[in-house]
């Protein structure tokens, strides 16, 4: 099974409309809608609900004043960091001040969402507007403050340095400086967030369904905030229509408020986020400004690199500094920077919070580093691929220690990778060396084309751990659970493949459950491209444990030595002697000695079913009943995947439209469990990379209003905008885990802006320093660079009289 293109077992169900998403559940539940701030920054003077009280179907209206116990405290700062000395998190409902458009002020519970929205429209909130801080420039000015007690709007300043970068740059033969910027985008899963809570008053327990990337941690958070013993709370993820990072943040205000209201009202309560809410009250990512200084020698080798950047973290910092820390470390990609200094400031603005979105800070870092590579190539007149090659970490240098601290608090050490081989594959795939003749032919037709590339390294599979539980049922089927969650990636298939191989059963007999705390209580979550590495390894170790137990019991039954046994298609047999075998289901029966025969299978395990050894206890010492096991995987560090993308673009000489003609990917995620799933992940990632490079941005005005908060105006590309993607794989196994795998989930998105900027620059002949780029922006750049090497073609057709 391992390594095969197995079709995803989840697809028949999901594609034929039998998925069960959050809003498919809880038809008996009361519905919630929120009054959300229309102002980016304001004091709340008064909330008047009198006009709303008469609405038929209204159940309750809650404001901050209703919150009790720990629900009235700010939400947790999930990932504290010593340099984050000005961390701020919101209250579940605003306490007198709002810091971005969309912040929740009042919660309405009603018979259905229509009524709830009617009520929301009738609640009058009086505001005293405060000066909004929008964009990094305004934040850095510091004239107005997001939080009155945070000087200069600086949440944190962090510096890491290896060697003496300033001295290395000063001593270098060549120097360059670059100013680069990247705009905001967002995860934008098709299914927004949603929470359904049922309070069982008799049991004093909560059952919560939520569309999250971490059910175990939401469970802990709800228990803590609602002051309920944690064993009285269970959190289940139904099918999830995409996460892409935004659902790793938790607890969202609604994940506390909905269970809180359900307990208070004694009725099931449900909230399902709508698209506008998702735009203005979930999370965004990407917005950064970089100032780079670089020194290099005559061959284009880096001597020193110094990067200062400003990261827009929005109004609050619940997810700590993870995004800028990743940018600052993963910026280095496959290169040796010489001396390196990086300093960032994480800045408050009166906008939606910024938390990881697929790629999580890496696309920005990759864009910056690859712009540096292209700048060096342009300056020295060296082929862009050659400059990269000269700066690569070589395979013989693995494991490679950068001397920095990574996002998991552990040293940034690359475990494996063969960057020169990856680049060679990419050049062959795209036809790098033949491009000039294509360019010449295109130019002769009056067309503008360009080629670009981008290389990245991605720390994946970060710890601390994941676990797995596996049980063989008496019918021989295998039930597997792991605590982390699935958002549609194909985990059920991938994990079943691993179990089928390790245990020796048919894949169809394996059922996998994820993200259900009733089934598995210890987990971290789905993020950082970690499921195959973490849960894949944990489930493999678990299967090995259960296999050993099965062999022990079977050896006894077959009167054979354990070492002589093998398991094939669920049958345990003596190697090379057909006829003597026992199926796993029967072993499961034997593993659990019974008194009562509730069915024919169970009858075989009852006390009078066969001969007994009167001297031994029914369950042998040191064993447990049942053919099941649990195991965990916890690595010493992250495993580092890498990849390289090459893009061919054509830009329209008149309209400045940008068309992708070819998109080539070489990808190394170690051993590949299921190439079809990995390619699917790459396709989705590339689509989001193209989106971030050419289409998506968050269009805030100076007042902090998000002008394009709908799918009409936020240009998420359709299938028609996503190019055909050509993929080649390289497999350099990770030495860090039993499967040799590395993460693949986020990879596709990372070098999108870098490679596309490189290609546009190549087509146009002037530097591209800001992404995303629209046709209008390219048009304006052309006006600033009138001496660009392609004269504009003019052929009048229709003109107005």
């Amino acid at each position: 099974m391992f390594g095969q293109r197995i079709r995803r077992v989840e697809d028949p169900r999901l594609l034929s409309g039998r998925g069960r998403y959050l809003d498919d559940l809880g038809h008996d539940a009361l519905a919630v809608a929120f009054v959300r701030s229309p102002h980016a920054h304001a004091r709340i003077v008064d909330i008047d609900v009198s006009a709303a009280l008469a609405v038929d179907g209204l159940v309750a209206i809650y404001t901050y004043d209703d919150l009790d116990g720990r629900t009235s405290e700010p939400l947790p700062l999930l990932i504290p960091h010593p340099t984050l000395n000005q961390g701020r998190t919101p209250y579940p409902l605003a306490d007198g001040e709002v810091n971005h458009v969309g912040e929740a002020i009042a919660m309405v519970v009603a018979s259905d969402r229509y009524v709830a929205e009617d009520v929301v429209g009738l609640i009058q909130v009086e505001y005293e507007p405060l000066p909004p801080v929008v964009g990094l420039a305004a934040s850095r000015d510091g004239d107005a403050l997001v939080h009155a007690d945070v000087p200069g709007n600086v949440a944190a300043t962090m510096v890491q340095e290896v060697g003496d970068a300033a001295a290395a740059i000063a001593a270098a033969a060549h120097r360059a400086t670059l100013s680069l910027s990247i705009e905001r985008s967002a995860s934008m899963p098709m299914e927004g967030k949603g929470v359904l809570a049922r309070w069982d008053a008799d049991d004093e327990s909560l059952l919560v369904h939520t569309s999250t990337q971490s059910s175990t941690s939401v469970r802990q958070a709800i228990a803590a905030k609602l002051s309920i013993p944690v064993d009285r709370v269970e959190v289940v993820t139904p099918d999830i229509g995409g996460g892409f990072g935004v659902k790793i943040v938790h607890p969202w205000p609604e994940e506390i408020l909905v269970p809180w209201a359900a307990r208070r009202l004694g009725q099931p309560v449900k909230w399902v986020e709508d698209r506008r809410e998702h735009f203005i009250s979930s999370a965004h990512e990407r917005g950064q400004l970089h100032e780079v200084e670089v020194g290099y020698d005559d061959d284009g080798r880096l001597c020193g690199l110094s990067v200062r950047f400003w990261h827009d973290n929005g109004a609050y910092t619940p997810y700590g500094l993870i995004v800028p820390i990743i940018t600052s470390t993963q910026l280095l990609g496959p290169y040796k920077p010489g001396a390196y200094r990086v300093e960032f400031q994480s800045m408050y603005t009166n906008t939606v919070i910024v938390t990881p979105y697929r790629g999580a800070g890496r696309p920005q870092g990759c864009f910056v580093m690859e712009r540096v590579m292209d700048a060096i190539a342009a300056d020295l007149g060296i082929d862009r691929a050659v400059v990269r090659e000269r700066n690569f970490i070589q395979p013989a240098e693995m494991p490679y220690d950068h001397g920095l601290m990574f996002q998991d608090g552990r040293p940034l050490v690359y475990d494996s990778g063969d960057f020169p081989a990856s680049l060679a594959k990419l050049k062959a795939l795209v036809g790098w060396d033949e491009f000039d003749s294509f360019r010449a032919a295109a130019r002769a037709e009056g067309r503008r084309v360009g080629i670009g590339l981008g290389c990245y390294v991605e720390g994946t599979g970060v710890g601390p751990y994941e676990g797995g539980h596996l049980r063989v049922e008496t019918d021989g089927s295998v039930v597997v659970s792991t605590g982390l969650t699935s958002q549609g990636q194909g985990h059920q298939t991938m994990l079943a493949q691993i179990v089928a191989d390790e245990l020796g059963v048919e894949m169809e007999r394996v059922r996998v459950t994820t993200g259900d705390t009733r089934r598995f209580k210890y987990a971290v979550g789905t993020f950082a491209s970690r499921t195959a590495v973490m849960s894949g390894s944990a489930v493999a170790l678990t299967a090995r444990k259960v296999r050993a137990k099965a062999l022990k019991i079977a050896a006894n039954a077959l009167e054979a030595a354990v070492d002589d046994l093998e398991i094939v298609d669920g049958q345990i047999r003596v190697k090379g002697s057909p006829g003597s075998e026992i199926d796993l289901g029967s072993v499961a029966v034997l593993s659990n000695p019974l008194r009562y025969a509730f069915d024919a299978g169970a009858a075989r395990a009852t006390q009078f079913a066969g001969p007994v050894d009167p001297t031994a206890p029914p369950v042998p010492e040191g064993e447990q009943p049942g053919l099941e096991g649990t195991d965990y995987y916890s690595p010493v560090g992250s495993t580092f995947a890498n990849g390289m993308h090459a893009v061919v673009v054509e830009t329209d000489p008149e309209t400045a439209e940008i068309n992708i003609l070819r998109y080539c990917v070489v990808h190394d995620c170690g051993t590949v469990i299921n190439p079809m799933i990995v390619e699917g992940q790459i396709h989705g990632g590339v689509a989001q990379g193209v989106a971030g490079a050419l289409y998506e941005r968050m269009e805030y005005d100076d007042a902090g209003q998000l002008l394009n908060a709908s799918y009409m105006d936020f240009l998420m590309p359709y299938a028609s905008e996503v190019p055909h993607i050509e993929i080649d794989h390289l497999e350099t196994p990770s030495p860090l885990n039993p499967l040799g795998v590395k993460g693949a989930g986020e990879a596709g998105v990372i070098p999108g802006s870098a490679a596309i900027a490189s290609a546009i620059e190549d087509a146009e002949g002037f530097p591209i320093t800001a992404m995303p780029i629209s046709p209008s922006e390219l048009f304006a750049l052309r006006a600033q660079h009138p001496r660009a090497r392609h004269p504009s073609r003019k052929d009048p057709t229709l003109s107005t009289p």
Partner: protein, 256 residues
């Protein structure tokens, strides 16, 4: 994103629809592809909807010697796929293919699009270019036909009175010996165009003339127009336009 409360009426004849519309001061619901999003975002809250979808006889496409006439329930997709209409006037298909995506074209009506009068919409520009008309019915004033020129009053504003039901639209055939093209620039395929051009070139034996219609652009784009206009020009050289359409089509996905 749930609409405010409204009353729902389901007439089965045009006359019934017209009288309900007058009585309720409501809105006609056709394909709902523009109206429902507006209501869900609570940008509009009509007290009543009069659902046209159960009125019989409004979905026909009638291709005569002189015109293509479509009913108020003819979906964009029906018009797009209708072979007789295409043979008589290829511009209709060429333009309607640029309206949104297949799923939306399968529900949205072409007459609804005319009434909605979005300055960035394709089919109002086509009606204007061809010099077509819209036929409307009200209880108070009966039946009347409004020429395209008079029909488009301003952005999202047509000459339809609040109590009038549009029952059909008539797109006259272009003259013999003519050719047409539709070009459009949008950020994403299927989006409303930033700018679009429909062109009709009419040739005769000794001279030639040309007519072009420009659907307006959206929101403050330089040169944006607030309503659909028809441009006319005479005495151009032969050729020109068709070739351009082919050039622009390169690299674009097949539509529909």
């Amino acid at each position: 994103m749930k609409p405010a409360p409204f009353a729902y009426h389901r007439p089965s004849t045009v006359d019934e629809a017209a009288s309900m519309l007058a009585a309720t001061e409501g809105k006609i619901l056709a394909g709902g592809q523009s109206l429902i999003p507006i209501m869900s975002m609570r940008l509009a809250a009509p007290a009543a909807l009069v659902d046209l979808n159960h009125v019989t006889g409004l979905a026909d496409i009638d291709v005569s010697d002189t015109a293509v006439r479509i009913g108020a329930l003819t979906r964009h997709g029906d018009l797009e796929r209708n072979v007789a209409a295409y043979d008589a006037n290829p511009l209709l298909r060429r333009a309607v293919q640029h309206v949104a995506h297949a799923t939306i074209r399968n529900r949205g009506t072409t007459v609804g699009s005319l009434v909605h009068a979005d300055p960035a919409a394709e089919m109002p520009a086509v009606l204007r270019l061809l010099g077509g008309s819209v036929e409307v019915v009200s209880t108070a004033r009966g039946r009347r036909s409004i020429d395209a020129e008079a029909f488009f009053v301003g952005p999202l504003e047509s000459a339809l009175e609040p109590d009038e039901v549009a029952v059909s639209a008539c797109f006259p055939h272009p003259p013999a010996g003519s050719g047409s093209a539709w070009l459009e620039i949008a950020r994403r395929h299927g989006d409303y165009g930033l700018v679009g051009v429909g062109a009709l070139v009419v040739l005769d034996s000794d001279s030639s003339g040309e007519r072009g219609g420009v659907p307006d652009q959206r929101g403050g784009h330089p040169g944006a127009r607030r309503r659909h206009r028809r441009l006319q020009r005479r005495g151009v050289r032969r050729g020109g336009l068709g070739g351009r359409q082919d050039a622009r089509g390169r690299g674009h996905r097949p539509r529909g």
